[in-house]
Symmetry: C2
Subunit: 327 residues, 2 copies
């Protein structure tokens, strides 16, 4: 474990990959090793003064996320920055594979020696995916990556989860069809720090500019958040295909991060997130006791009695809690 830690801290990619595999493992001994490894590293809160940026990126399928990440990542590595890309895709968790996280989506970036791409894990419950992603982020940060992009699809709870792991949260959008805004949920809008309207090229360019103006107008209607300087959250147009607007977007991200660092919101947010994940993990850990073989057996037997009307749900639950879930 000491050896793995040293190699990880030296920025060795194979060590990072192995450490993430350890994090993703369901085995109890691997879990113990993971915790030992993480404790030997400076955590996210202690790292808040480092220049590493954790950037969440969400967007519905078809909006051009892979193309954007590849172009954006290549631009960053060209500046000498080390970039890690982690994917969170609940649908891949369901199918058992990882489609969106596939490296073949980002061929150029995956061959870049300053980039590290890790597909979505195939854990079946969101709690497991959350923990793996959060800890993988810590490992990437410890391995010296400057920018960590966490990609997620714009559906369900995964967005909220990713937003709770990031310093900045981006929403990638397509030019809207009419003069109406897309069906972006208010909650998602409120999480976003920067809206990126992609595909601002060719025939869609004018539409993208108009959509951007519409979103900018909508953002002005939201209440100002304490963690934002004047002018944020904001909307920008980008073209991942033409690699246009990416530098401007990166400048804005740096400006925002810098302001948050200076005002203490950056470190404050990381502390809040660590607390949030601690509490979530305690809850998950408690509920995980139900998955132990003996507990499952007892649950199943009691559920049968309940379904037959021989025992009330309340009494059966009390029996379960008192007799089978005490350790």
């Amino acid at each position: 474990m000491d050896d793995l830690r040293d190699r990880l801290l030296a920025g060795e990619r194979r060590a990072l990959a192995r450490a993430i595999t350890l994090v993703e493992s369901g085995r109890a001994d691997h879990r113990a090793q993971t915790l030992q490894l993480l404790e030997g590293l400076k955590g996210p809160v202690a790292m808040a003064d480092k220049p590493a940026l954790r950037i969440g990126l969400s967007g519905t399928p078809g909006v051009g996320k892979s193309t954007f990440i590849e172009a954006f990542g290549m631009m960053l590595t060209a500046q000498g920055l080390k970039v890690a890309v982690l994917a969170v895709d609940p649908s891949s968790a369901r199918s058992g594979g990882s489609i969106l996280g596939d490296k073949t989506r980002m061929e150029r970036l995956s061959r870049d020696k300053n980039a590290f791409i890790r597909p979505s894990p195939s854990q079946s419950h969101l709690g497991g995916v959350a923990r793996r992603t959060r800890e993988a982020i810590d490992l990437c940060e410890a391995a010296g990556f400057d920018v960590i992009l966490i990609e997620t699809v714009g559906v369900g709870q995964s967005e909220t989860m990713v937003a709770e792991m990031c310093d900045l949260f981006m929403l990638l959008l397509a030019p809207a069809g009419g003069d109406e805004l897309q069906g972006v949920k208010r909650g998602i809008m409120e999480m976003a720090d920067i809206l990126l309207i992609n595909k601002a090229d060719g025939e869609l360019k004018r539409q993208a500019v108009r959509t951007c103006a519409d979103y900018a107008g909508a953002l002005r209607l939201l209440r100002k958040r304490p963690q934002d300087p004047e002018g944020f959250p904001k909307a920008l147009t980008v073209s991942a295909v033409e690699e246009d607007g990416l530098e401007k977007a990166w400048e804005e991200m740096k400006t925002l991060a810098e302001w948050r660092r200076e005002t203490g919101h950056f470190a404050g947010r990381r502390a809040e997130q660590a607390r949030f994940w601690f509490e979530a993990e305690v809850r998950d850990g408690l509920l995980a006791r139900l998955r132990a073989p003996s507990a499952r057996q007892a649950m199943s037997a009691l559920a049968q009695k309940v379904a037959e009307g021989k025992l009330s749900p309340g009494n059966a639950a009390q029996t379960m809690l008192a007799d089978h879930l005490q350790t």
Copy 2:
């Protein structure tokens, strides 16, 4: 307890009220008494062969729920049936009072000796409200009520919760403004057995009829569910104010319930629900261990260390689970 049980089974209203108060109590000794009381009664599964009907009723504020329940309840009691009305209102749980459940809303029905009205409990978490309501339903059934109406507002999780406690689920709707359907969520539509378009009187009558036809069309597009005979779910117009369409609605409810009894779906559903609530209660019970004073103290101390970056969320969670949540 034996005395309370006997009086409850004899249909004594004061005994029923006292038993529900016991169910709503947060005290451990009251909980033990409740479980003892419930175990001495025939549970919901065993009662599935009795004619008692549990009817869930949802609808957004302003749609006329109270007026409908009063008129519908009076019609039933006039037929000699005993009617219990329970309210589930998450907003009253938040405010600590019970506004929607207030008996003053249903003055006539509350004076009816064949009716029993119980306002929404003021428990703060939905799990507590769920348990109380579910157990109060069992008590009403044991006390010999023929129809148990469970009312909820058409927002949030409370609808899903109520649907998991009922034999039939009604959705009360207002006539739509245009030719478009109201923003009824697809999930709610799919839970409903009968849609009741209220206010089919005076100036709104024509509009109500049109809205009803629109909904009927929309219902035909949904996949047929195994628990429905031909023609269900269906949409009907009612006027709570003019007491029109109520008997027709009641006939439809009886027809549906009868079909489900004969086909085994009625008993099957109750068994499924009992199993569902058993599992939910085990989960709630596990998480309730976090609310014990010693656990809260430990959580708070560990969270502080996590927020300061002295301990990783994962390690802190492991400590919490191993050292403070073993009993």
